[in-house]
C-alpha cells in the first residue's frame, strides 16, 4: 500500500507541479493517474521512487516513509516502465531483463534463467533472447520493458505512459496482456496516462488530475463515468461517457429472445405457418452456431443466401456496451448472443438492451445510495 499524504512539489521558479495531493494506492490493484499534460501525474509517479523529491508531505510504502530508505534500494523494490521502453540498446533482450536481478547480486546464470521465464510471461518468443532492442518492434520493446520491471518480482510497479508510443492495435494487445499479468501477479500498479479510454480499460481506480497538480476525482472507473465530480472531469471524459459507462454493465441478465432462433434442419414449412413467428429468423447450424438471418417469406433454404448476422456478443463476458454496439451494427437491429462455446443463446434487440440498461442503472442506484445522490447532483 502506497500512502501519498499532502504531497506538494514546487520548483525553484515557483511552478507548482503537484499541490497537496493525497492518495491511497492499495495493493493488488491498478491505480491510474490520468489528466492533461502538465497536471503533475508523472511528477507524482516519480516522487514514489524518489526520482523527484517532494517539497512537502510524505509518501509511505506499507507504513514506512520512503525517505528513510536508501534511494537505490527503494528503486530496486519498484519496477519502472517508461514510454518508449527505455531499453539499454547495447544489451541483449535477456540481459536487459536481467538488469535488476544482477544489481541485486544474483548470479549471472540465475538472473538469465529468471529473464527467460519472464520473456515467456510477457509473451515474447524465447528466440529473441539474444537479439538487441533495435531488432524488435515498438510493441515487443515495450513487453521487454515490462519484463525488465518485473524481473526481481517487486511488489510495486510504476508505469509512466508505457503504451503511449505504440499504435492503437498493439496498445490494446499490451493492455490486455498487462491485465492478464496483473491477474496472475497481483502487484500494486501505479499507471500514468493521458488517455481516459486507457485509464477506464485498465484501472481498478482512477485518479483524475487537473492542471496545477490538484486531484479532481479519485474513484472507480464506472463511478467516474456515471458521476463525474465536476465539469472539468466531465469534459475530460469526452462526449460519449454515457455509452462508455455501459462497459461496466453485464449482459448476464439481458432478456434474450429464443423464439426467432431455429437450427438449419428445422421443418421450415411448419415454422413459416406459425402465427407468432416474425418474418425474420436466425438460422443456426446443427451445433447451435449462428449462420445468418432468413426472411421466411422469401428464403429458399439455401444457407448461402442468408443475411449476415455481423458479430455476436458473449453473454457474461461482454458488456452491454458490446451488445448495444452489435445491435446498432446489425442490419435488423438484433444482436446475436452466444455462450462461451459460440452457441446461440438468443437474440436481443435495441429496445431490449435499452431496457436492460435502465434496469441496471436503477439497481446500481438502489445498491449505492451515496452514488445516487451524486448522480442527481451532477449536471
Amino acid at each position: 500500500m502506497i500512502a501519498i499524504e499532502e504531497v506538494s512539489k514546487r520548483y525553484a521558479d515557483g511552478t507548482v507541479a503537484v499541490d497537496r495531493l493525497s492518495l491511497q494506492i492499495p495493493n493488488h490493484s491498478i491505480t491510474v493517474l490520468v489528466g492533461p499534460s502538465g497536471c503533475g501525474k508523472t511528477t507524482t509517479l516519480r516522487m514514489i521512487n524518489r526520482m523527484v523529491e517532494p517539497s512537502s508531505g510524505t509518501i509511505r510504502v506499507n507504513g514506512e516513509d520512503i525517505l528513510r530508505r536508501p534511494v537505490n534500494a527503494l528503486r530496486r523494490s519498484m519496477g519502472y516502465v517508461i514510454q518508449n521502453a527505455g531499453l539499454f540498446q547495447h544489451r541483449t533482450i535477456l540481459d536487459n531483463i536481467a538488469t535488476v536481478p544482477r544489481l541485486l547480486g544474483w548470479s549471472k546464470q540465475r538472473a538469465r534463467a529468471r529473464a527467460a521465464e519472464l520473456m515467456e510471461r510477457v509473451g515474447l518468443d524465447p528466440g529473441m533472447a539474444r537479439r538487441y532492442p533495435y531488432q524488435l518492434s515498438g510493441g515487443q520493446q515495450q513487453r521487454v520493458g515490462v519484463a525488465r520491471a518485473l524481473a526481481s518480482d517487486p511488489p510495486i510497479l510504476l508505469m509512466d505512459e508505457p503504451f503511449s508510443a505504440v499504435d492503437p492495435v498493439v496498445r490494446r494487445g499490451l493492455q490486455e496482456e498487462l491485465l492478464r499479468i496483473q491477474s496472475e501477479l497481483g502487484k500494486a500498479i501505479v499507471f500514468v496516462t493521458h488517455d481516459m479510454d486507457e485509464a477506464i480499460t485498465i484501472g481498478d481506480r482512477i485518479a483524475v488530475m487537473r492542471t496545477g497538480g490538484k486531484l479532481a476525482q479519485f474513484a472507480a472507473p464506472d463511478e467516474i463515468l456515471s458521476s463525474p465530480a465536476d465539469p472539468f472531469v466531465e469534459e475530460f471524459l469526452g462526449a460519449d461517457r454515457g455509452i462508455r459507462g455501459l462497459s461496466f454493465l453485464s449482459t448476464r441478465e439481458l432478456e434474450l429472445d429464443r423464439s426467432q432462433v431455429f437450427p438449419v434442419d428445422s421443418d421450415w414449412k411448419r415454422i413459416a405457418g406459425r402465427d407468432e413467428a416474425s418474418s425474420s429468423v436466425l438460422v443456426t447450424d446443427a451445433g447451435g452456431k449462428p449462420l445468418g438471418w432468413a426472411d421466411l417469406a422469401t428464403w429458399s433454404g439455401d444457407v448461402e443466401a442468408l443475411e449476415p448476422y455481423g458479430q455476436s456478443f458473449e453473454v457474461g463476458r461482454d458488456s452491454l456496451r458490446v451488445a448495444l454496439d452489435r445491435a446498432v451494427l446489425a442490419p435488423n437491429g438484433q444482436a446475436v448472443a452466444v455462450d462461451g462455446a459460440g452457441q446461440v443463446l438468443g437474440v436481443a434487440g435495441q429496445e431490449t438492451i435499452a431496457a436492460a440498461i435502465r434496469l441496471a442503472r436503477q439497481r446500481r442506484a438502489a445498491d449505492a445510495p451515496q452514488d445516487a445522490s451524486k448522480l442527481k447532483a451532477a449536471p
Binding site: N72, I82, F88, H90, V100, P133
Partner: protein, 235 residues
C-alpha cells in the same frame, strides 16, 4: 628500392624502427587524451555551464602552434619525445571532449531515466550504460584524433630527432634524396589509413547492438571532423 628505404644512420633508426617510433609518438597522446576526455566530458554533461569554457580552452590550446609549445616545454622536458607528445595530447582534446560529450548526450532520456529508476547509481550508470552507448560517437572522434595525431608527429623534427617519419623530410632536403620524402609521406598516409581501419574494426566488435543501416557515427564523424581544423601546416 634502396633509395626509398635506405635510412641515413644519423636518424638512429631502421625504417621499421621509425614506424614504431612514429606510432608510439602518435598513439600514446591520443590514448592519454581519451583518458582525460572521458572524465572531462562527463563533467561537462553533468554541469552544463562547464562545457563552453572547456570547449573554448581546448580550442585555444589547439590554436597554439606546436613550435610555441616546444619553446615552453623544452625548458622542462628537454629535446625528448615527451615534448612532442604533450602538445599532441592537448590537440586531441579538441576532438575527443566534444565526442565524449556528444556520445553521452546521445543516450536517450528514457534510457537514463530507466537506469536511474532501476537503482543504478551515477557512477555505474556512466560506466555500464552511458559509456557503452557513447562508443560510436567516441570512436568517431578517436578516428579523427588518431589520423590527425599521426600526421602531426612529423613536427617533432623541429626539435631534433623526435619527428620519427617526419625526420625523413628534413633528411631528404639535407642529403638531396627526394625519395626519402616520398617514403615519409606515403608511409605516414598508409599508417593513418591502417590505424583508421583497425579502429573501424574495433568499433564493429564493440557495438554489435547497432543497427547495420544508418549508423549514427557517420553523421557524428562528419560533424566532428568538420569542427576540427588543421592547426598549422606541417613543415
Amino acid at each position: 628500392m634502396n633509395g626509398f628505404f635506405d635510412i641515413p644512420s644519423d636518424l638512429q633508426h631502421s625504417y621499421l624502427g621509425l614506424i614504431a617510433l612514429h606510432m608510439q609518438e602518435a598513439l600514446i597522446p591520443v590514448l592519454v587524451g581519451l583518458l582525460l576526455a572521458l572524465p572531462i566530458g562527463l563533467l561537462c554533461v553533468h554541469y552544463d555551464w562547464l562545457y563552453p569554457p572547456v570547449l573554448w580552452s581546448s580550442t585555444v590550446l589547439y590554436a597554439i602552434p606546436s613550435i610555441a609549445f616546444f619553446v615552453v616545454l623544452i625548458d622542462y622536458t628537454g629535446l625528448t619525445q615527451l615534448t612532442v607528445m604533450i602538445p599532441l595530447c592537448l590537440y586531441s582534446l579538441v576532438v575527443l571532449v566534444p565526442a565524449v560529450v556528444d556520445g553521452i548526450r546521445s543516450v536517450p532520456e528514457e534510457t537514463n531515466a530507466a537506469a536511474a529508476a532501476m537503482g543504478i547509481g551515477p557512477v555505474n550508470r556512466y560506466v555500464q550504460v552511458q559509456l557503452p552507448i557513447a562508443v560510436p560517437a567516441i570512436m568517431a572522434g578517436l578516428r579523427v584524433a588518431t589520423a590527425s595525431s599521426i600526421s602531426l608527429v612529423s613536427v617533432g623534427s623541429l626539435i631534433g630527432n623526435q619527428g620519427a617519419l617526419g625526420n625523413l623530410l628534413t633528411t631528404a632536403m639535407l642529403y638531396h634524396r627526394p625519395q626519402l620524402a616520398v617514403t615519409s609521406v606515403v608511409t605516414t598516409a598508409v599508417l593513418a589509413i591502417v590505424v583508421d581501419a583497425v579502429l573501424v574494426l574495433v568499433r564493429r566488435v564493440l557495438t554489435p547492438w547497432e543497427p547495420p543501416s544508418g549508423r549514427r557515427s557517420r553523421r557524428l564523424a562528419a560533424t566532428i571532423s568538420g569542427a576540427a581544423r588543421t592547426p598549422e601546416s606541417v613543415s
